[in-house]
Chain length 278, copies 2
């Protein structure tokens, strides 16, 4: 039982028959936008917690795992990523990691709900510290339409940093969007999409992989990593490359990048690429 004399935020994962709770000090924000309901809580030990439509998006304490693992494996598996697009990613943590790569010339982030970013600026300022980088362009628009609109073969890496595949993000898990990403990518380009839990969501992962294969992608890999604030604490990103294979970064390239991480490193990259669905 959760102690009745304390305040808790609980996310029930209905499809898994499990739940995670955090002790709560304060309810910092509650906003209903055109797209969803956003809450921010102050937790007792996990820093701030952002919740969208009742589903946990991130906490201050553990978001580094997700943001590092969505970004660095994809960018380091591309020989020289210059043009990057982020779909979703409104908390700007992925954007911050992308901008750590010196060779990147431009990053366009297309988040549908501006309030996610405004609340992140307020409650997760560390994630937004590079938003003023001249290489960053923050758009608040429909990611599906944006990917359709850009020139074919113009992007090196597309990162789909979305909410769960219900509500506004549903289309981001469909075959049409994946095919549009394939068209937008230059040869050798990489698409990476957050793909839920390797333990709980194997059907969803299978669907993403099938869409990627159907779109014409070559190497398709699902990388697992720990993510305490999401159901099961074990999460994944699924990558697909348009021509060529997906390989782990060399220790030399990683060291030369000067990028500081708390989880990702060349050995962890090898391990993530070896993930098998259980």
């Amino acid at each position: 039982m959760l102690p009745a004399n304390e305040k808790w935020f609980t996310e029930v994962c209905k499809e898994a028959g499990s739940a995670i709770s955090w002790g709560i000090d304060a309810h910092l924000a509650h906003e209903t936008t055109d797209f969803q309901t956003i809450d921010v809580y102050r937790t007792t030990q996990w820093g701030n917690l952002m919740v969208i439509d009742g589903f946990v998006m991130l906490t201050s304490r553990d978001n580094f795992l997700y943001h590092e693992m969505l970004t660095h494996p994809a960018l380091f598996s591309h020989p020289d990523p210059k043009q990057v697009v982020i779909i979703g990613g409104g908390d700007c943590g992925t954007l911050r990691e992308v901008l750590g790569h010196q060779g990147v010339e431009s990053v366009t982030q297309v988040e549908i709900d501006e309030q996610v970013t405004r609340l992140a600026e307020q409650h997760f300022p560390e994630l937004c510290e590079r938003n003023g980088d001249p290489r960053a362009r923050l758009m608040f628009d429909d990611g599906l339409a944006y990917i359709k609109s850009i020139a074919a073969g113009s992007v090196d890496v597309i990162i789909v940093d979305s909410t769960d595949p219900i509500g506004p993000a549903e289309g981001l898990f469909g075959p049409g969007f994946i095919a549009d990403c394939f068209a937008a990518l230059a040869p050798g380009g990489i698409l990476v999409q957050q793909s839920e839990s390797p333990l709980l969501h194997q059907k969803l992962i299978g669907g993403i992989r099938a869409n990627m294969e159907q779109a014409g992608f070559d190497d398709i890999r699902t990388l697992g990593f720990p993510q305490p604030c999401y159901p099961s604490g074990w999460w994944s990103a699924t990558q697909a490359r348009k021509g060529g294979t997906i390989e782990a970064v060399s220790p030399e390239r990683f060291a030369a990048s000067g990028i500081q991480t708390r989880y990702f490193n060349p050995g962890v990259h090898v391990g993530a690429l070896a993930t098998q669905l259980p």
Copy 2:
């Protein structure tokens, strides 16, 4: 909020301000032994759940992660493990994995509480399927005293598969026990101990590593892996070798072993050995 019209078992992790809950169908067992209180529940989607003194030990659905990662990295980092000792491990899942290694000649398991094994036989029979192997010896005794009693230099791998460092397992985390393990190990031998969460329990991990260093061990490595039923969903095993280094298994040796796994493989081994404490 957890739905009030459903039954849930909740473990609160006080030191982390978080909790995990499972939907429950039935309370299958409740026993108070000389050492602790043991409960077994049937969950809605995680199979059976064993709880000791209110702390979750394992579920049918996700224990493969813990048992594989406590066992295979240690045995495969030893050139030819023949004599293995398990301290704790009463559910017999670690024993099952050890017995998968053809070269192992004997495994002695020293569990302090026989009822853990009796309840595992009843409610987790798949973990006990190799208990009748002629190489296996199941003792119900004090692991601290057992390690002190055996001949110096007689063991290749010691696996400490214990509960949390409170209650009966407390001594297993102290410097005296680690020093006794060092004495019991043959040259090149490996000690591995479950060492809690890399995110939540860094102080404990630091203490284990300091004890290992003080005992005279050479290479000391903390391997991270996902473990949904434990706080944060991210867990670790800390290994120490008596002379020599700890390396990942070669793909050739792993393939030749014939061992079937759902999580561990040579690439995952590389990743786990690259774990950095965040």
